[in-house]
Amino acid sequence: MANKTRVPAVEGWFTLDDEPRLLGNRCRKCGSYFFPKIASECRNPGCDGTELDEVPLSNRGTIWSYTTNHYAPPPPYVAAEPFAPYSVAAVELSQEKLVVLGQVDAAIDPATLHVGMEVELTLGTLYEDDEQEYVVWKWKGVANRG
């Protein structure tokens, strides 16, 4: 188990380091952010920019809302067996002024979630096969660094 390779469940959407970041992009002309990255051409209708730079998004935000799913979703989700409820949070990033979804790290008790709560990006297992552990971004509580 311990020797499985950690691979991203999707290529190029987030970094894999100790302080992971979501990877969005930003229009070079108007500065609008996009997540997931868009291939070409700014989507701000008031901008004709065509050059976008990949940028890491803020790794902290505040919860806009949250929910806990008590049923296993259908494929292509790969549900753990036995199935365990998991939470999903919509998180507001203040600098980018956008709301992004992510599963909530299982270490957080869903009963402690609340709108406005500060959370931080982490990586967690989405599913595993015999050789590899597929990881995805998740939201975790903000460590008290007092």
């Binding site: 609008s32 929910t67 989700y77």
Partner: protein, 397 residues
Amino acid sequence: MGDHDVAVLGVGMHPWGKWGRNFVEYGLVAARAALQDAGLEWRDVEFVSGADTIRNGYPGFVAGATFAQALGWQGAPVASSYAACASGATALNAARAQILAGLCDVALVVGADTTPKGFLAPTAGERGDDPDWLRFRLLGATNPTYFGLYARRRMELFGATPADFAKVKVKNAAHGLTNPNARYRKAVTEDEIMASPIVSDPLRLLDICATSDGAAAVVLASLDYARRHSLTNPIRVAAVSTVTPSYPNTVIEMPNFATDSAAVAPAPAATFRDSIAQQAYAEAGLGPDDLDLAEVYDLSTALELDWYENIGLCGPGEAEKLVNDGATTIGGRIPVNPSGGLACFGEAVPAQALAQVCEVTWQLRGEAGERQVQDATAGLTINQGLFGHGSSVILVR
């Protein structure tokens, strides 16, 4: 009478259920019923507008032609529209445009679906560039996940409670009790709802609509044609709103991973859902106070409350009071979902927006039986299709 009005000559439905038969069968039943209601022959139809289903193979993608062939080729041009849950409104608007452009006098609009059991899942295959596939794969973000997010936000922002949500279901179940086209015709109590299993917290099984088979059809005609056929006072379509969002769309929506960014362009004055209704009101020259009833898309109980605010029945955070006061119950100030809504029907995607139009038409004609809203003269339907599709129709008499 607006410049853009067209007449509703006939409406018809195939009852909602889990019948497991081919969607074309249901569509035929609904189309025949609408034609009979209009007092027209199939050969009188000059344009066929189909609302597509994406879960029934090629015939579903060319629904206009599929229904035209099933009714017997008679040469009428066809169109087929897909706009997720808004497909019916988009198909209706395509037919209306043909009539208003003077290209035809009579159009038939049909939507029908056969649905699989359980959660609506994305179409099969490995599709790493399809956000609808990826949201299931990477987040396990089912449709109820999004409904759960909206419901929880109402609770935290406005102090809504699961009992408030349950009241919506109790109301809709009571409305649909005697609706012959409804799939679920059974009264339910708040306790039963709040004892049903949690699906996407805070929403429980009975807060969330099922998926169903069903079909609905509408026959539209120009006002001139209606007059020539001695229909002096037909129900009229006064507005169809199929707007898309305005950038930046700052509310998280199915099937997206994120909202647009408001870092550069400021958020528009109206949210997307608000703008759907605003466009319809503007076209009809009416406002929320002019409505006698509304059919709103209650994918979840809590979402019905959001719609009250989106269509201007009350201000933000006031919807719970509306349902608790009985204002949205038949007999109240502004009955919502007198048909029983999705709570009693379950969702048959391409048929649902047309089913809303059928119900409002029956209500305005005074033909809604035990669920009749007294003296109704104007009604609004509203719904939203994934990937940015607005859907609202205002009907008047």
